[in-house]
Structure formats: C-alpha cells, structure tokens
C-alpha cells in the first residue's frame, strides 16, 4: 500500500480504513501483534488483517463485521485527525481540475494544515511531479511530514515550516500551480507569482470570507494575473428512501402509494469557502 499506488493485500505498516457502516469508519495503522477496538469487538492485526485482501469483510471478536478498505486521499480526508479546518473532496475536486493538475505537475501549497488537500495533490501529480507545502505552525508541519512517510509518499513532497507571507515557498519559477489557504492570501500573491514557472501557471486561493477574496483579487490584478474567476461549490447529498404516502380518504379509495425518493439531508454544508482561480501568463 501507498497513497499513490494500490496494493492487493494488507501488509504490516499499511494504513488501512476500517469501515463500520454508512459514513462510520476510521483509519488504522496495521502492525504485527497490534489490536484495534471497534464497537463490534476486537480486530487482531496479525490474524485478521495482514495477508487479507483489501475490501475483505473481517469478523470482529463480538461477531460483528467490518470491511477493511485500501486508503485513498478521499477516504483519508473523511478520516484524518483534524489539526485545523480541512478542505473536503468537493472543493478538492474543483481545485485539482481548475489548477490543471496531472502527473508531473509541480505544485506549491500553503498552509499544509491537516494535509487533506496535500494528499490529494500528491496522488494527482505522482509519479513524476512534486508538492512543496509550507506550514507556519511547527507542530503541524512535523505531523504532516510523519504522515507523508507513513503513507509512503515522502519522495513526492517537501514540507517547509515557514511563513509564506514573509518567506514565500522557498522555490522560484518551478511551479505549474500554487494553492493558498491562509488568512491573508493577498500578502502571498507576490511569492506565489515568483514560485510559478516563467512561462506561467495557475493559482487558486481559498478563503471563507468575501473580504479576503476582495483583497486577494486586487492583489492578483496588481501582480498581473488574468482569467480571474471566483467560484463556490456545494455538495447536495440525497438519501435514497422508499416512501409510503397515504392516499387520503375522500369517501372512496384509500391505501398507500409507494415510491423511491432522493431525499435531501435536513442539513448540509452551506459554505466552506470561496475559490478564486487565476492564470499567470507569459506576458
């Protein structure tokens, strides 16, 4: 297993996802001799996990069962330890496409945060690209480094502990794309520009507040970015349900009508942030 390559069977040292049921799962570090407690009972790594195929059903000590899943950046996003607010797959999808990321892309990111987007970027730029990720919070930078090692992607990423607004990304004219998720992105636009390749590239800034977007757009314009475009994307999930509706008694027929319905959840995420994209052109 690695986060950029599927493996068939669970191996010692893998990070696997224990799937308990609908939207209920957690990651586990597979280790010989280790045990993991679930609500369905204990999972013994040596006998229950190692050597089994990913996607297998594993019966726990109390008789309940779970599925063991191969990690993906998306499952990681749903299960990672939060050290900060994180980006979720809906935004990540749009960022990845709009930054035109693909194998071989060189990307600069700040801040690393909890590494949710970082994993997704690394997945997409592998095997020949690279991610330079800058995090000003020392603990977080170190934790991210550890995770990248555990997930066997450390060769694809460089983590720096510095303030991107003051010190930039530490590289110049190498990046195809820059991503900013920091409180004052407008202070880092200059650094972003110099990190991008001479022939140009794409930039994205994620900000929860519109005032941040306004300042960032001004800064982008001052630095000559073009194709500026601010977007927002929201996910609407539907539960698939069989609904029975009573036929009213008007004096004749009664009974119920059954149908399948895609029922929106009562509450949904109403806002994560605004995504501002722009292009650095050669001229």
């Amino acid at each position: 297993m690695s986060f950029v390559e599927y493996g068939d069977t669970i191996k010692d040292g893998d990070t696997a996802i224990v799937f308990l049921g609908h939207e209920s799962m957690f990651p586990v570090k597979v280790q010989h001799g280790s045990k993991t407690q679930t609500k369905y009972g204990v999972i013994r790594h040596s006998t229950d996990l190692i050597g089994k195929r990913y996607g297998s059903k594993v019966t726990c000590s109390k008789g309940g069962w779970v599925f063991i899943l191969h990690p993906t950046p998306e499952l990681w996003t749903m299960n990672l330890p939060h050290r900060t607010q994180i980006l979720y797959s809906t935004d990540i999808s749009l960022i990845t496409m709009m930054l035109e990321l693909k194998p071989g892309s060189i990307v600069c990111e700040s801040g690393t945060g909890s590494g949710s987007l970082s994993h997704a970027i690394i997945r997409t730029v592998a095997p020949t690209g690279h991610l330079y990720t800058v995090e000003f919070h020392q603990q977080r930078a170190e934790k991210a480094k550890e995770e990248f090692q555990e997930h066997k992607v450390e060769h694809l990423v460089t983590v720096k502990n510095q303030d991107v607004c003051k010190n930039g990304f530490g590289v110049s004219n190498v990046a195809d794309a820059v991503f900013l998720d920091i409180p004052s992105p407008w202070e880092a636009i200059g650094h972003a520009k110099s990190a991008l390749k001479i022939e140009g590239g794409r930039i994205c800034s994620f900000s929860p507040c519109i005032e941040q977007v306004q300042r960032t757009c001004l800064a982008m314009e001052e630095h000559g970015f073009t194709e500026m475009n601010t977007l927002e994307i929201l996910l609407r999930v539907y539960n698939v349900r069989t609904i029975s509706l009573q036929i009213p008694d008007l004096g004749k027929a009664q009974g119920t009508a059954q149908f399948k319905s895609g029922v929106p959840l009562k509450e949904m995420v109403g806002h994560t942030g605004y995504l501002t994209f722009a292009t650095k052109s050669l001229f």
């Binding site: 005032e211 349900r241 509706l245 036929i247 009213p248 959840l265 509450e267 995420v269």
Partner: protein, 484 residues
C-alpha cells in the same frame, strides 16, 4: 416611553408568547407560577406579565425574570491579541477554572456576564489568540453562561421558523420560506374565500388567517375526526377571526362532488384525535438525525411547554375557550343534552360549509399535507372558481411529478410550475462576511397553477348563468367587509 404603548402590545396572562434566545424559539402559554424550561434554563413568566412584547429579560436566581433595559455592548477587553495562532498548542489545559469553580460561581448567583469575564481572565491562551478567535471564544461562552431571553409576539414569521427548527416532522418539513412562497403564489389576502387542506399542525391555516386579517372565509378540509389547530392557536388571533373559519371532513368530499352528500351520516361525536403520524422510513430516519443534531435540546420536547401532548386542548383554550370550560363544569346528565345540542350545531355548520363549497367559487386552494397530493387536487379543485391560483406543497418531489401529469391530463389548469427554493443565511460582520456554514438541505417542493374554465363549462352557457344567479351570500358579506 413604555407607558404610551397600546394594551395589545403588552404581555397578558393567558397569552401564547414565544421565547427567543439567539436563533432559538419556543412557544409557551403565559401562566402564573408555572415553571417553564427553555434552553436548559428554568424560570417563571410572572414578571413578564404587563411588560411590552419584545422585552429582553435576564433570569435571576430563583427563576425570576428581570427586564434588561438595554443590551449592553461587550465591554470585555480584547485589546491584546495575537496576529495568528501559530503558537497555540492545544493541550486542553488552557482554562484554569475547573467545572466545580464555575458551578460555585453560578451557585453564588454571579451573573453570566461576570462568569464569562472570569473565564477569559483564567484562560492562559486567550491573549495569544487572534482577535477573531477571541471573539469566537467570547460568543461561545456568552451563549453558555448568559441567560438572556426575549419574549416576542407570535407571527407567521416566528412560528414557522420555530416549527421548522424544533419540530419539522409536525409540519411535514415545510420550511418557512416555502410557506412564504405559498402565501404569495396563492394570492392570500383579505376578502378571499380559501380552501385549505393541511396536516401541518394548523400552521398553514394560521398563516393564511393572519394574511386574511379576519376578512373573507376559510374552509379547512380535515382528515380523520376533526381539524388539528395546535399551531393556529399559537397565533393569538381575536375570537372574531374564527367566525368565518369553516371545516369540512375530507371523507365527505367525494359525496359532495357526486351530489350524494348528506349531513346525516356525520360521525356522531368528533373524536378530535390527533391523527397518528404515519411515519415513513424517511421521516423516521430524519428524526434520528435530528436527535443527533440537537444535542443541546431534546427533540421530543413539545412546542407548547404547558401542553406536552395535549395539542387539542391548547386549541380549545384559545378557539373555543368558553365551550371548553362549560363542558368541564357541567354534570354528566346535562352533558348528554349538551352533547346533543352541540351535535346539532355541528350538523348545521356542516351543511352550511357544504353549501359554501358547492358554490364552486373559492378564490384558491392551498394543500400542504402528509397525504398523496394527486387525489386531493383532483377533487378539491372542483370547488375553485376559474382564474384563481392554487398551491400544493409536498415534502417529496415525486408525488408532485405525478400530480402535475394528472392535472395536465384532466385540464382546467394552466401555468403549472414545479419548484423549490434555496435559502441561504449570511454572516455579515466586518471582514468576516460569508454564508452561514450550515444550511437547510431542502425546504420541500411546490406545485402551483391557475384554474381556468373547463371546456364543458364554456360550451354550456346556461350552467354559467345559473352560477351567476346564485351569487353566494357569504361572498356578498365579504365584499361589504372589504369596503368598510
């Protein structure tokens, strides 16, 4: 200034009022020496009586309400602030006050605002936080420790927001902005003759009555033994509003349409039983979700604090107050005679209502129920005049697709439109403006349209004339009221 206020703007004993704290609402009856629980706080409403609606109170020790004359600005010193949170290490040890310390403060009767100030002073990380984080911290703590309650007058705005937040299952998840669309699309106004079929605890009925202001008439179609008006009673309408409110059993609709209607077959005694909510898979699941979401507030708590599961009683208290008391006071024998008299009275009103419907000149139809909308629409539109709007609400989209198709096939309706609305709330604060982080996933679906003359009516001029001649008396009355 308070002295100049009209009596109707003051809180009276027996009023149905709405308690408000931040975005949380709860309707209660104002009764003396009656404990009220709201947002984990208990208190008495005695001190609120005679105060003006809109007054904000603090809960003091002993559960007494103290009017808070002016909303004090947060005077907390937040001058010292970090520029970012790179140095904050979350080890769960930043607050030096223990739970016991805080409890001791509360027991001493220390006010919420002071407790918050003490929490700030005893936080080792507060000064290192950014201004934004400090604000967030203060807000959170204020919410937890400051017991400030505003008492507001019920209205469609307040009650529909409250029901959607607290008991969406009771109103078929009809979101308040969807209700707003219905009232507008239905051209609800003074002087109309409206047909309403709802199973939303009487909320939709109340909203319509509010918009009609006592002018015109409303015919409520009801399933089962009698109409449900729990939410209607919360509006605090004057008695006169109920003079032009009629009710008609759904089970009699087909016979009325086919001309075989007879008032003799009326069930001998209305059971007034609240219909058992036929929960589908969906609704059940959503209840579970709701429970998980509202950790702070039990979802099983009833809207009317003083009438836990006695919704019907609440209605009686307001709408038929005197009747209710009489029945209770009289002996058993007299009760039988009384019953017979009431039975006759009901039959008389039923015949009157049937006549109103048979005029087939209603000014609109509003449906918002847990039943399949198609049969309701196909039957009830018979009673609506041409060139009048109708609006059907359904929690699900699929039944309205069918309803749309069936109405198209049947004809007599135009401008059919199936829609839903998206509602977004915003946080507008200096440098921190953005849509709220959670939003409602759905507010239900509406099918609206306009009636037109069906072919047969148009080709038959005599029947059209006949309709004109027997111009309804109630409609005439309505017009007179309008020009006063």
């Amino acid at each position: 200034m308070e002295e100049s206020v009209k009596p109707g703007l003051r809180i009276r004993e027996g009023d149905c009022v709405v308690l408000k704290r931040d975005e949380v609402f709860k309707a209660v009856l104002v009764l003396r020496r009656r404990k009220v629980i709201f947002e984990k706080q208990w208190f008495y409403l005695d001190n609120a009586i005679g105060r003006v609606y809109g007054t904000t109170f603090e809960v003091s020790s002993g559960g007494n309400l103290q009017p808070k004359e002016k909303m004090e600005e947060t005077t907390t010193e937040t001058k010292e602030a970090g520029t970012d949170n790179r140095n904050i290490v979350d080890d769960g040890k930043s607050q030096k006050l223990t739970h016991d310390d805080i409890k001791a403060l509360k027991d001493k009767g220390i006010k919420g605002q002071e407790i918050v100030q003490q929490l700030i002073e005893n936080s080792t990380t507060f000064r290192g936080k950014t201004e934004f984080a400090q604000d967030k911290y203060i807000k959170k703590k204020k919410k937890k420790y400051e017991a400030v309650i505003t008492i507001v007058k019920p209205s469609t705005r307040i009650l529909s927001t409250m029901y959607y937040a607290r008991e969406p299952g009771k109103i078929n998840h009809l979101r308040y902005d969807t209700l707003a669309q219905m009232l507008t699309l239905g051209n609800i106004r003074a002087g109309n003759k409206m047909i309403v079929m709802e199973t939303c605890a009487g909320l939709v009925l109340g909203a319509i009555m509010e918009r009609m202001g006592g002018y015109g008439s409303v015919i409520q179609m009801y399933p089962g033994g009698g109409p449900v008006r729990a939410a209607t009673s919360c509006f605090g309408f004057p008695e006169s509003f109920f003079n032009t409110l009629y009710e008609f059993p759904l089970s009699k609709v087909d016979s009325l349409v086919s001309g075989t209607f007879s008032s003799e077959t009326l069930p001998s005694e209305p059971e007034y039983n609240v219909p058992v909510e036929e929960e589908s898979n969906g609704s059940l699941d959503e209840k579970q979700t709701l429970t998980q979401e509202t950790e702070e507030e039990s979802s099983t708590e009833a809207v009317m604090e003083s009438n836990e599961t006695e919704e019907q009683e609440t209605m009686d208290l307001v709408a038929e107050d005197t009747e209710y008391k009489e029945t209770k006071e009289k002996g058993n024998k007299e009760n039988i005679r009384e019953k017979q008299r009431k039975q006759q009275e009901r039959r008389r009103k039923l015949v009157e209502t049937a006549a109103l419907l048979e005029q087939k000149n209603a000014d609109g139809l509003i449906v918002a129920s847990r039943f399949h909308p198609t049969p309701l629409l196909l039957s009830l539109l018979e009673f609506v005049a041409p060139s009048r709007p109708f609006v059907v609400y359904c929690q699900y989209k699929e039944p309205l697709l069918e309803c749309y198709t069936k109405l198209r096939e049947k004809g007599g309706v135009i401008n059919l439109k199936l829609s839903e609305t998206w509602l977004r709330n915003y946080q507008v604060l200096p440098d921190r403006s953005h849509p709220k982080l959670t939003m409602s996933g759905g507010g239900g679906y509406l099918l609206s349209g306009i009636t037109v003359t069906a072919e047969k009516v148009q080709s038959n001029a005599s029947s059209l004339e006949a309709q004109k001649i027997e111009e309804p008396t109630s409609k005439k009355r309505k017009l007179q009221e309008l020009h006063c």
